[in-house]
């Protein structure tokens, strides 16, 4: 790929890039053996659907990714490259992704209304404009609720993100805390998943037996559903603990680890696949940070360099394990970036015309829907909003988005009734 004339490649630049991207340290230790047997993975694939959202936090530039405009005054320095789908070109920073294009559908006519990080994120993850009187749940909570199985061992909704990049999210709202995201920070297991030092397996088992005995006696004499729920929560934590290996990337075949890459995002994406395979219904993997108000082009080289290879590896990996047909994959941001390039070689926040990519369950690979004008400043064909996308996710998963939830007996449509699915990209 041609050197970007905006990058200075000095030591200062590399240092500030590290700070900017929050890149962390050590490579994972490689080890033998895959996580689940291929047979088990196929079995899982047959009966269960799941969702993986790759969230490019900060606002990825659609002009540097899915809808390039080379040779225009908004296009920037990069070329557009051909992909495995004749007639479809994407940004040259995504060569591996380009080879996967037969599996990927593009929505290029997205207008998400708000160029604000917080509001945009809400709009993109709830499929709604913020409304008075109701807080809508994120697609993660909705997926966990509608696709999850009762008594499943793993939590239904997990968010993998780099340390320092997130916090406790109110993303399940009226669906309840059971479907709220469990944070997995920096790819590490949930806090306190493992036994503390000094507590042997034997001692833990023994104390837990007594806890259980006392709780059972109490629950029996009070006949309360709440006491049973409390006791059950310990059993659930134990089930998650028994699957704690899922967080240990070293248990993965080193060749697989190498394909994803040992940088943070690569490991997090691989962890996402492991979590899905272990029974988590919805995993969101965040990649920071795309908020490129300055040095947009240089930073996109770095960021997309981190994204491109693992993303392609993921699609291959899911396909190899027979999971691609039952896993919906979505690549999104909270917004796009301005076609206009500012005086610091940056692009600013932009919601009027940008793109989202989808693959996997129910998605027509290779389809492209929506067009923007020559400079990318407006949608010219098939404009859609986050509501249409939300409908599309649910339809792709075989769910009915026109049904309602009934929190406190108040009917709340699962998806925005004013929108419907983008059938052009559905199988």
């Amino acid at each position: 790929m041609p050197a970007c004339s905006y990058a200075c490649h000095s030591a200062n630049h590399r240092a500030s890039r590290r700070a900017f991207l929050g890149a962390a340290g050590a490579a994972a230790v490689l080890g033998p053996a895959g996580f689940a047997s291929p047979a088990a993975a196929r079995e899982l694939a047959k009966t269960q659907k799941r969702v993986l959202v790759i969230f490019l936090a900060g606002g990825v530039s659609q002009l540097e990714t899915w809808d390039p405009k080379p040779g225009t005054d908004t296009g920037g320095p990069f070329a557009a490259i051909p992909t495995a789908v004749p007639g479809t070109r994407i940004g040259e920073l995504l060569p591996h992704t380009a080879k996967q294009m037969k599996r990927i559908a593009l929505v290029r006519g997205l207008n998400s209304v708000s160029p604000d990080h917080g509001i945009g994120e809400k709009i993109m993850l709830t499929g709604r404009k913020p409304e008075a009187g109701v807080e809508y749940p994120h697609i993660g909570a909705v997926s966990a609720k509608l696709l999850g199985a009762d008594g499943q061992a793993m939590p239904g909704h997990v968010h993998v993100f780099p340390a320092g990049a997130g916090g406790r999210s109110q993303d399940a709202t009226f669906l309840g805390p059971k479907f709220a995201s469990v944070p997995v920070v920096g790819g590490k297991p949930p806090a306190d998943l493992f036994r503390p030092a000094g507590l042997t397996d034997e001692a833990d088992r023994q104390r837990d037996d007594l806890r259980q005995k006392l709780s059972d006696k109490f629950a029996k004499s009070r006949r309360s559903a709440a006491t049973e729920a409390y006791t059950e929560s310990f059993a659930q934590a134990e089930r998650v603990f028994r699957k704690a290996d899922v967080f240990d990337i070293s248990k993965e075949d080193p060749k697989t680890v190498a394909r994803y890459g040992t940088h943070d995002f690569g490991r997090h994406l691989l962890l996402g696949r492991r979590l899905l395979e272990s029974g988590v219904t919805y995993v969101k993997v965040s990649h920071s940070n795309y908020d490129t108000h300055h040095e947009n082009f240089d930073f996109h080289i770095e960021q997309l360099g981190e994204f491109d290879r693992p993303f392609a590896a993921l699609l291959d990996d899911l396909a190899d394990r027979g999971m691609l047909d039952s896993t919906l994959v979505v690549v999104m941001s909270e917004m796009g970036r301005t076609p206009k390039i500012n005086d610091r070689y940056g692009r600013d926040h932009w919601s009027a015309a940008w793109s989202v990519a989808l693959a996997g369950c129910g998605i027509k690979g290779g389809a492209v829907v929506g067009k923007t004008n020559a400079g990318g400043t407006a949608v010219t064909d098939r404009e859609v909003g986050s509501g249409h996308l939300f409908h599309t996710y649910l339809r792709a998963l075989g769910l009915n988005p026109t049904k309602n939830f009934y929190p406190n007996e108040r009917p709340i449509p699962i998806a925005d009734p004013k929108a419907d699915a983008i059938t052009e990209i559905l199988l």
């Binding site: 949930p190 007594l210 806890r211 006491t227």
Partner: protein
């Protein structure tokens, strides 16, 4: 007393009440009579009154926000005086723990764990504790909350209800309805409630009209912002269900009441301080200033009713109207006469919170056992045949854990002569903060019922804070137990953590657990954990 006579006695009491009240009979007795009258064969089917062990734990949790120390429990259990429960109730009501407990409860009712942006936590805590320590009449308290504008530092904490909602009019309206009137009017922002005929859009905007002219000055983000008000601005609304898009309008009014009479002013006379750049306007007439009186007026029956119901729900685990914030004719109270009685008496007492709390906890209804009698096949949710379980609040959980494991005792010893309640609270603050961090509801979300998320369970199972409390260290419970012979240790363990003696079975379990263990202190550390993590500890029963 034969069942027939008891039934007759109940009827007599009920008749006496409807005839204008038998004034000499204390409220707690009338509560019991009405509860008994609310279920056929109540006397036969209801659980007995709770034993001393269950009572002492419950009353400490409800009135002091923590479990009794082992010594306090022992003293109560050994006390043979007939009136000991009433004596203990009075002692707890007079102690600082009561104010702390009520402050914690009302903090969550009023502020739902919203971030402290414009009124610092310490000032708000202080204000609440002082309110309940002084036993400020509830209507006076609510008038303070609704009339403070934040300019006077002495009354600024009371303005937190508005200030830390950024005076966002829809949020304030919804919470006014919810907290003080028992009406969750959320749906009515956009249309008449489709199912609850009583909750109309006009009601929502009638409330909003009290605050629609108010705003934060100089702006919504300043930490020292105060509440200012313009002299103009009218409230109109359109129903999203109405195809004709007819526009409604309303002045300030309580739900179901007439709009207020509002004075008119000549042009130029609407302000005493006219709006100007960086100048806080002061209107000649303030809509918001009328809110406090309108909410707490005797002409607004929802106020006293909701307040009484809320206190009942706090102590009994379930409102007479349930949920507390959904009071409307389609959701009638389980015991209408009782709710009317509590409402009337609470108002007549000048909204004396401590008095009403005392009457409720003196009742046999409150003191009923939580263990379901074997003969009772079905436990209806709303008949008070058996005491309801109440999950410990994050604060109760923290304080109880600290007391049970001996952490509170250690803190007291360390402080020695300087062990004031404030100093003790400060020492325990990190434990309380840790429990709050894991168990508290998310900001703006209701905090009722039990939640059991993975992070909460792991916090209890493997977390460092809980482990530091339970593991034996010099002077704490596990350490002291390890020095006792097995039998005595088992009793001391159960008394300290579960506020009751150990059964023979449980003593055997303790002995077995300790026998195989490498060291006694380690074994007792894990035993303390097992009791603390059990359902029996998690709930106020």
């Amino acid at each position: 007393m034969p069942a027939r006579c008891r039934a007759v006695a109940s009827v007599v009491v009920v008749l006496a009440l409807s005839a204008g009240g038998f004034a000499a009979e204390p409220l707690h007795a009338r509560i019991d009579a009405l509860i008994a009258a609310g279920h056929p064969n109540y006397a036969k089917e209801a659980a007995p009154v709770a034993g001393d062990a269950e009572f002492v734990r419950r009353i400490y949790l409800d009135l002091a926000g923590t479990i009794p120390s082992a010594a306090e429990a022992r003293a109560f259990l050994d006390d043979t005086s007939p009136g000991k429960r009433a004596t203990l109730i009075d002692a707890l009501l007079a102690a600082p723990g009561y104010a702390r407990r009520m402050a914690q409860v009302f903090d969550v009712v009023l502020m739902e764990r919203r971030p402290d942006a414009k009124v610092p936590r310490a000032a708000w805590d202080d204000y609440l504790r002082t309110t309940f320590a002084k036993n400020t009449p509830y209507d006076v308290f609510v008038r303070e909350l609704l009339s403070a504008d934040g300019t006077d530092p002495k009354t600024r904490p009371a303005a937190k209800f508005f200030l830390d909602r950024n005076l966002e009019p829809n949020l304030v309206t919804r919470d006014l309805g919810r907290v003080f009137l028992g009406r969750n009017l959320t749906c009515a922002q956009c249309h008449d409630h489709p199912h609850v005929g009583d909750y109309k859009q006009a009601d929502y905007y009638g409330l909003l009209a009290f605050v629609n002219r108010s705003f934060l000055f100089p702006n919504a983000t300043a930490a020292t912002a105060v509440i200012a008000e313009k002299a103009d601005g009218d409230v109109t609304f359109v129903s999203v269900f109405d195809k004709t898009k007819a526009v409604g309008a309303t002045g300030p009014r309580m739900p179901g009441a007439k709009p207020l009479d509002e004075p008119k002013f000549d042009k130029g006379k609407e302000y005493t301080t006219a709006p100007a750049k960086d100048v806080k306007p002061v209107p000649a007439y303030s809509r918001r200033a009328r809110l406090a009186a309108a909410v707490t007026s005797p002409d607004n029956p929802a106020f006293a009713r909701t307040a009484a119901n809320r206190l009942w729900a706090q102590l009994l685990g379930r409102g007479l109207v349930n949920p507390v914030e959904n009071d409307h004719p389609g959701n009638p109270p389980s015991h209408p006469e009782l709710l009317d009685l509590l409402t009337k008496e609470f108002a007549a007492s000048q909204y004396d919170v401590k008095w009403l709390v005392r009457e409720i906890v003196l009742s046999r209804t409150y003191q009923r056992a939580s263990e379901v009698p074997a003969a009772l096949a079905d436990v209806p949710a709303d008949r008070y045949l058996v005491a309801n379980l109440k999950p410990l609040s994050p604060e109760q959980f923290a304080y109880a854990a600290a007391e049970a494991t001996g952490e509170t005792g250690l803190a007291r010893t360390a402080l020695a002569a300087k062990a004031t309640d404030a100093a003790l609270d400060a020492k325990l603050a990190p434990v309380v903060a840790a429990f709050r961090g894991v168990f508290a509801g998310r900001p703006g979300e209701p905090e009722d019922g039990l939640t059991t998320t993975l992070d909460q369970t792991l916090f209890l199972k493997n977390g460092g804070v809980v482990r530091a409390l339970t593991v034996a260290k010099a002077g704490n419970l596990a350490d002291r137990l390890a020095k006792l012979p097995d039998d005595a240790a088992a009793d001391a363990l159960f008394l300290a953590v579960l506020t009751r003696p150990a059964t023979a079975d449980e003593k055997a379990d303790v002995a077995a657990a300790v026998k195989g263990a490498a060291t006694r202190p380690a074994a007792f550390g894990e035993l303390v954990w097992a009791l603390m993590a059990s359902g029996e500890f998690r709930f106020n029963h």
